[in-house]
Amino acid sequence: MSSVCNSEGVTKVAVEVNSLVKQYDGLKAVDGISFSVIEDEVFAFLGPNGAGKTTTVEILECLRPLTKRTARVCGFDVSKEKEVKEIKKHIGVLPQDFNALDKLTVKENIELIADMYEKHLNVNDIIKLLNLEEKANAKFENLSGGLKQRVGIAAALVSDPKLVFLDEPTTGLDPKARRDVWDVLANLKKLGKTVFLTTHYMEEAQVLADRIAIIDKGKIAAIGSCQELIEKHGGLKVLVIRRADKSVADKLQEKFEHVTINSNGDINVKIDSTDEFYRIMHTLTEMKVEPDIEIQTPTIEDVFLKITGSKISEEGEAK
């Protein structure tokens, strides 16, 4: 297994991708991306539909051939048939739009996946881990979307893999079911799994991932922890002053840059230093205004908008 040095010493690399290209006829679905996933981290690919997330993940799962350059998973080359066998033993996968055999029960479906591996965990233990005991004998076709995803996660874990791929684990779920799945996923890190997640939900990446790669049009636009991305690309904090008089707005516009007034009358001031914040507050005190204020920190949405020039809709489309 290859290793890189970081400030904490030697770290193992679970996934190593080097200038990877995947071309379909005229279209470059993946356009020369490079990145590594470090062991024990939760790594997220964040991007809209068609950005190349699933294509990349499916190349790493040895489900699709790559067009150019290299990708290694758990130290093995995805392009070499002999090494593919090794990779398959070491990974667990929740594919996009997971489905199982409709007429089989939860337990039977998990057993089926378990039986594909030489070594696997006890199926009952996995069912317990995912809180599926009550539904163990329910047919897959009768489960809700959230429960089906949990069966998918159970199937991904039953071979006790070191590396787990989760492709859009909460797409199409209602907010309650989404949070339930998040709780399950937050546990994976405690179990010592390395997790590679793809999502188009900003919040999901922010809540679950140690590091995020923003992927757009087949390229990685930025990579880092949520904190790092926000600090580097998020832009300035915004001081919002609610229900203020026109005179306050005029005064602030006279003294400071970046002052805008919202359609609902709120004043937004971008602040680039603590000093500037104090000067604004001082001005307000001088005017004997007791303002209703709020400071808005940039979010991963702002980072995404700044880097790619677009937002992602609930359905995952770039707009």
């Binding site: 379909y24 499916e58 799962e61 040895c62 489900l63 699709r64 051939p65 066998k85 398959k88 033993k89 990974i91 996968v93 594919p95 996009q96 739009d97 997971f98 489905n99 199982a100 055999l101 409709d102 007429k103 089989l104 039977e108 057993e111 089926l112 996946i113 039986d115 594909m116 591996y117 030489e118 047919k139 199937a155 071979s159």
Partner: protein, 235 residues
């Protein structure tokens, strides 16, 4: 022994499906009762059994597999260490069991309703196995070629029904015009139906081995085509 797990799972999944059970078992039983009551059971026990072993592969397996493919079930399995061969062996064994159950029910009906006392022997079982492989091969090939679930089952029907009528299943070949008899000679079901009839009714050794040889050869050809056309990796 991954194919055993596949065999168990797809068989259970099928046995619990009412629609599947109707078309694979209830429908042939109905036809046997109707045709047998009009014309006598002797011919129809083997020919209707053969015809539905054919549809189980060409329509049934084709639509099940395209549905599995559409829903990502084959993709999910192909991520595991399961090989394409194990998958296909599991599916073919499941088809064989289903077809043996069908033959058992049809023969039982022959005893009970038409007084045709047939005792299935190893040659009958071998014949059913070879027929299952042959038609499963065609089903595998069709589901490999066609992505759309409805198109796949339409294609299965378009192949099955003419074949059923042109292979002497319902109407004896001898009363058909000579050009139709000629067409029947290139249809796999003709040999399979004749072979099954020989194995369970007439017991003519020549007819058994001649037809079995043709079915075995076709089974090898179709299963190879089926394996080739089954996609185990995405593009």
């Amino acid at each position: 022994m991954r194919f055993i797990a596949i065999f168990k799972a797809v068989t259970k999944n099928w046995l619990r499906s009412r629609v599947g059970l109707f078309f694979s078992v209830m429908f042939p039983v109905m036809l046997l009762v109707i045709f047998g009551s009009i014309f006598g059971g002797n011919n129809y026990i083997p020919t209707i059994t053969a015809a539905f072993i054919m549809t189980n592969g060409v329509i049934g397996l084709t639509s099940t597999n395209t549905e599995f493919k559409r829903r990502g079930i084959i993709k999910r399995l192909s991520i595991t260490p399961l090989t394409k061969t194990d998958w296909i062996v599991g599916c073919v064994l499941s088809q064989t069991l289903l077809n043996l159950i069908l033959a058992g029910i049809m023969i039982g009906l022959g005893w009970g309703v038409f007084g045709v006392r047939v005792i299935p022997d190893p040659l009958t079982i071998l014949m059913i196995f070879l027929g299952s492989v042959m038609f499963a091969g065609i089903g595998m090939a069709l589901s490999g070629l066609i992505k759309d679930v409805e198109a796949a089952s339409a294609m299965g029907n378009a192949i099955s029904f003419p074949m059923m009528f042109l292979s002497g299943v319902f109407v004896p070949l001898t009363i058909m015009p000579s050009y139709m008899q000629l067409i029947s000679r290139v249809l796999p079901l003709t040999y399979f139906a004749d072979g099954l009839k020989a194995a369970i009714i007439t017991k003519s050794t020549n007819a058994i081995f001649l037809n079995m040889a043709v079915v075995a050869a076709l089974a090898v050809v179709f299963i190879i085509v089926g394996v080739r056309l089954t996609q185990w990796k995405e593009k």
